[in-house]
Amino acid sequence: MLALTIARLQLQELLRRRLFLVLLLLTVVVISLTTWGFSRIPTLDDAMTATEIAAIASQFLILVMFMFSFVLAFSAVFAASPAISAEVESGITLAILARPISRLEYVVGKWLGLVATVLIYAVPASVAQLLLVRWVVGYSPPHPIQFLAFVTGEATVVLTLSLLLSTRFAGMVGGVTGLILWGLAWMGGIVGGIGQAFDNATLTHVGTASKLILPTDGLWRGAVWSLEPASLIAVMRSAGRNAAANPFFAADPPPPAYVVWCILWIIGMLALAVWSFTRKEL
């Protein structure tokens, strides 16, 4: 129960910080601009068919959502990486942990609060963007719920990693490490795609390994897939295996086993964070 107290406190902190307000305002600005951009698509060429509009809209949407997933992942990293270390530094943990609360409850509470913040931001922002796109160009991605799950899952992965780092290192370390690893995983995914396209086993293995070690890019591919219309997937499939090298295309959703792996990965990292913090000398 006390984990929920800590979660509420963490959520309260993030919502009261100016950072959240700034993020919210910028998101409104970005959504307005992209919506205007989407509304221009049908005016590009009067002869465009509905399928063509859907294809262009879906591609544009994937780019916008890539940026969104990036902002989301990084907001999560920068919220999580000082979440514990800053409280250790200020002595807040001394006052809190001298109460009848276990370190497990404290770490899990922090994690729950951070995940809740991600959801509170990501769900309304994504839903607003998707609804506006549907309103201005009439395009609805086929799997909006899966999209939300993949994008928030990606943010949860980096957030959990940052929280683990936060049990031992100052906020800056967690932030920078999260950023670099996220970028490496993204590139790892591209390397794997190139391996597939050129039938190169080594490169393919690099991609697979990076997807397993830090499953951000694997989840991002799931998000891409959930935004693509069936007609686009059919066209790209006919282009052959070369399409695999495109980081903004996914022919298939991640297999269920991979989704299970991602969940286990998150649980494992969280357990590691609890273990690390339990052993920390305050």
């Binding site: 006390l2 002595g91 807040i92 006052a95 109460r99 009848p100 305050l282």
Partner: protein, 302 residues
């Protein structure tokens, strides 16, 4: 285990790598005592507190707090703690900080308003309850911290340098709060390097230096009542030699200082001085000040 001492430690030790922060702390603090844990900076006082509250595990030895093993959840419910260096959540109001600690301490929700109002009143922050902690001065934060430590009428209150950020008025207030806790029967563990503070409020004191307790006992025991000063004139060398049997003699100008004399022998001593032709102007017992004792124990010249 209501009769168990508030704190009992047995050879409690903490080492960080090759650094010994606390080397074998053995002490028993009875319930209701106001106990001063005194030592210079870096003596291991804060380490001792962290060990007692289960914030860091001991390297060896053991300890009991309120009759339970250290870190025991039920015991922690009955302990209030003011850490030494801390800043509370700057985005919370004073009331919210107190409410948080009510919740963490497992206090029934219906009792929160009363607990919060009482804590704010005791530490003199009643009119700042809705102020954000981020806008508080260091002194106000320390007052709030003290209020947090008092939440839920704890049986044991651990205060780590509670007046470090306070002005003289604040220090006076804290002394009054500690005395009031003592009157209520609450055990207070006061970590401090401020001798006057400890001297004014504590029943018992342990002096710790370089991770080791160098002396402990009641203030009377530690400061000893075995020294007397007599202001007398007309005593010659032979007279002084005759008085040597009463204790260790030192002449300080007109004053004669006799150390190690039993209280009961003082009248006899005075009569003897008069018999030897001395003219006595004043006789006063001299308690060593805690500061003298402290410096002597730490091996520094006064």
């Amino acid at each position: 285990m209501i009769d168990a001492p508030a704190i009992r430690t047995q050879e409690l030790a903490k080492r960080y790598g090759s650094i010994t922060a606390l080397a074998g702390l053995t002490m028993t603090i009875p319930r209701g005592d106001i106990f001063g844990f005194l030592g210079p900076n870096g003596a291991g006082k804060t380490t001792a507190v962290k060990l007692l509250l289960g914030l860091t595990p001991p390297t060896s030895g053991d300890a009991e707090v309120l009759g339970a093993e250290i870190g025991d959840r039920d015991a922690l419910r009955r302990v209030g703690y003011l850490p030494e260096l801390f800043r509370y959540q700057s985005w919370l109001t004073a009331r919210e900080v107190l409410a948080l600690h009510c919740e963490l301490a497992g206090i029934d929700r219906s009792a929160w308003p009363r607990e919060i109002a009482d804590a704010l009143a005791v530490v003199g922050l009643s009119d700042r309850g809705t102020g954000r902690v981020g806008t508080f001065s260091k002194g106000m934060q320390q007052r709030l911290g003290l209020g947090v430590a008092l939440i839920g009428a704890p049986e044991l209150v651990v205060l780590d340098e509670p007046t470090s950020a306070l002005d003289p008025v604040g220090r006076h207030d804290v002394r009054e709060i500690i005395r009031a806790l003592g009157e209520r029967g609450t055990t207070v563990f006061l970590n401090s390097h401020l001798l006057s503070e400890v001297e004014q409020v504590c029943d018992r004191v342990a002096i710790v230096d370089r991770g080791r307790v160098v002396a402990q006992g009641t203030l009377d025991e530690l400061l000893g009542g075995d020294t007397v000063r007599i202001r007398a004139t007309d005593l010659d060398r032979a007279a002084l030699a005759a008085l040597a049997g009463y204790g260790q003699l030192d002449a300080e100008g007109d004053w004669l200082v006799i150390r190690g004399i039993d209280d009961e022998r003082v009248p006899e001593l005075v009569a003897h001085v008069v018999r030897l032709g001395g003219r006595v102007y004043a006789v006063e017992p001299r308690h060593e000040s805690l500061e003298d004792r402290f410096l002597r124990l730490l091996g520094q010249p006064n």
